[in-house]
């Protein structure tokens, strides 16, 4: 079996071993956002405009929540890197028939798999009740592209961070102080048109913003003139973060 595949199988076994109920627990929060917050706020907010088309708030919100799932998937996968370091398995694997590049690649693939799987699961559950949304053949590449590139960015970010932290508490602190603000400083919950200038600029640097816009375009079939630029920006940011992660990992002392 290919070395990368062996490492991936190991990660999958580890994830299942972490908790067989992990997947279920990861579904609760996004479904609450969509089915509770989405419909509740939908009673207050009468329609959101995207590319000249008005949609319900829940339809506006749901794609963003789906996309945010890869952040959660990335955080769990990133914690696996931390556990590998802490439990001596990182050193053990690096003394085995694997290179650092293979280890990093396998972790990124694990992150992406977990993130995309989580997101698609939420999407499949939510889709039947999201009137106006559909997973069409033309929209599918945008949806998958959004999830893959977004997972790559956040997976790389978590990998770079995980190699540097030294305690469990630091790991939790990073997740809470980095990911939560990123969700709110994006177009997940509201369009950027209504944001104050400073927050708008910050949100435009956030890859989550572009992932959300891509998946909205894919699910709702509503595209804007900015979409091609958003795809390029997201691809560039993800690639840069990948290079940062690889460079960071190369220099980690084991």
């Amino acid at each position: 079996m290919n070395a990368l595949l062996r490492l991936l199988v190991r990660d999958i076994r580890g994830s299942i071993g972490m908790s067989p109920y992990l997947v279920l627990s990861q579904l609760v929060s996004p479904l609450v956002y969509i089915f509770v917050a989405g419909f509740m706020y939908g009673g207050i907010v009468k329609g959101m405009e995207i590319g000249g088309v008005t949609v319900s708030y829940v339809l506006f919100l749901a794609p963003g929540i789906v996309v945010s799932q890869f952040m959660l998937g990335a955080s769990y996968a990133g914690s696996m890197v931390w556990f590998d370091k802490r439990m001596g398995m990182l050193e053990q694997i690096l003394a085995g028939p694997f290179s650092r590049a293979q280890y990093v690649t396998s972790k990124l693939l694990s992150v992406m798999m977990q993130g995309v799987a989580n997101a698609l699961l939420v999407l499949l559950i939510a889709l039947p009740v999201l009137v106006g949304a559909s997973l069409s053949a033309s929209g599918l590449p945008l949806v998958l592209g959004s999830l893959i590139l977004g997972s790559l960015f956040f997976g790389s970010l978590i990998l770079a961070i995980s190699t540097r932290i030294k305690t469990d508490q630091s790991l939790n602190m990073v997740f809470n102080t980095v990911f939560a603000p990123l969700m709110f400083l994006s177009s997940v919950f509201y369009p950027l048109d209504v944001a104050p200038p400073v927050l708008r600029i910050i949100a435009l640097c956030n890859p989550l913003t572009y992932s959300v816009d891509m998946i909205r375009a894919g699910l709702l079939g509503i595209t804007t003139s900015y979409l091609p630029y958003e795809i390029v920006v997201l691809s560039t940011e993800s690639t840069c973060m990948l290079l940062v992660a690889v460079h960071t990992f190369r220099s980690v002392k084991v």
Binding site: M1, V9, R13, G17, M18, L94, A95, P97
Partner: protein, 336 residues
């Protein structure tokens, strides 16, 4: 063979006192020349030179912080050297690291296990990582779990195991795959005597079948039992490298008194060192280790020593008296 004066001269100059001099013949599995490793201001390895031949059980002795683990990390390509050369199985550790890693095994000093998998899954996954066939994986799990007393805990996860059981898992795991060279960094830490002996016997058996073993420990009896040759490392330098027999002979005679004392302080150690008739003193590195005192006349020195410790308010919980041994040679070389 070098005499004591020659040894001291070499030590002052920082040269190995080896019998490279008893240079091993046969294929060299490890060949290290002038190896140095620097971490910031700290020189963990200071130009060590040694070699290990195929099928040998090579011991690497030294106190905590001497450089044993750093040496293993360099030879297993986990960390690159700062200076010098090192070849493992004929491959350079810097340029041909991948080739080395395919043929070695490592049992680390620190605990290492898959925390979210059961013991059986740990072993099975490790076999998968080494690309072993399924039936061979299952066969080895059966035999290794028997050998290392893990049969009853195969369904438990590491956090549910005792420290000794986790250590056994770690050691057993490394025997899942075939290898030409095995690095063991204080592998018997935490093991009870029965399992410790089973491991040492297993290692001897492996060596008979051509496995080369690089073994670090600070337990002299293990080194004497197991090793063909031993290098003694102290503060990043190899200060002796020879067969067990030759090292014992270099100990210069004398008797070693080991006194287990609760909470001994530096002032007491210095006092013992100043007692007439005391040749050398090595204070304990850890709480459960004894104060080691080398004397020529144990019949008179032992009562004097115990009396002196009692007068200083020290609580003595045990005493051992040993004749000149590898331990004596080791203590003589590192305590100065």
């Amino acid at each position: 063979m070098l005499n004591n004066e020659q040894i001291r001269e070499r030590m002052v100059k920082g040269e190995p006192t080896a019998s490279d001099l008893a240079e091993p013949s046969g294929d060299l599995v490890i060949d290290v020349k002038g190896l140095a490793k620097v971490y910031g201001e700290h020189r963990a390895l200071d130009g060590i030179t040694f070699s290990v031949k195929k099928g040998e059980i090579f011991g690497f002795l030294g106190p905590n912080g001497a450089g044993k683990t750093t040496t293993i990390k360099v030879l297993t390509t986990i960390t690159p050297p700062t200076q010098g050369e090192a070849k493992v199985l004929g491959y350079d550790v810097t340029r041909e690291a991948a080739a080395i890693r395919k043929r070695i095994g490592l049992v680390q000093q620190q605990p290492s296990h898959e925390i979210f998998m059961t013991v059986k899954q740990n072993l099975r996954t490790y076999g998968l990582l080494w690309d072993m066939k399924k039936d061979e994986i299952e066969r080895r799990i059966a035999s290794l779990s028997e050998l290392f007393g893990l049969k009853d805990v195969l369904g438990m996860k590491p956090p549910e195991l005792s420290i000794g059981q986790r250590r056994r898992l770690q050691v057993a795991r490394e025997f899942m795959h075939d290898m030409d060279l095995l690095f063991l960094d204080e592998p018997t830490t935490g093991l009870d005597p029965q399992v410790r002996r089973a491991l040492l016997d297993h290692l001897k058996e492996g060596a008979k079948n051509g496995l080369t073993i690089f073994f670090t420990t600070h337990i002299m009896e293990e080194a004497e039992f197991l090793c063909d040759r031993i290098a003694i490392i102290h503060r990043g330098r190899i200060i002796a490298c020879d067969s067990v027999t030759n090292l014992r002979a270099k100990s210069g005679g004398g008797t070693l008194i080991e006194v287990f004392v609760k909470d001994i302080d530096t002032a007491t150690v210095d006092f013992v060192r100043s007692m007439p008739g005391v040749k050398r003193v090595a204070p304990p590195d850890q709480a459960d280790e004894p104060l080691r005192v080398s004397v020529d006349t144990p019949s008179t020195m032992l009562p004097s020593l115990l009396d002196a410790l009692a007068k200083r308010g020290c609580s003595v919980t045990g005493v051992n008296v040993k004749e000149a041994s590898l331990e004596e040679a080791f203590l003589r070389m590192v305590a100065e």
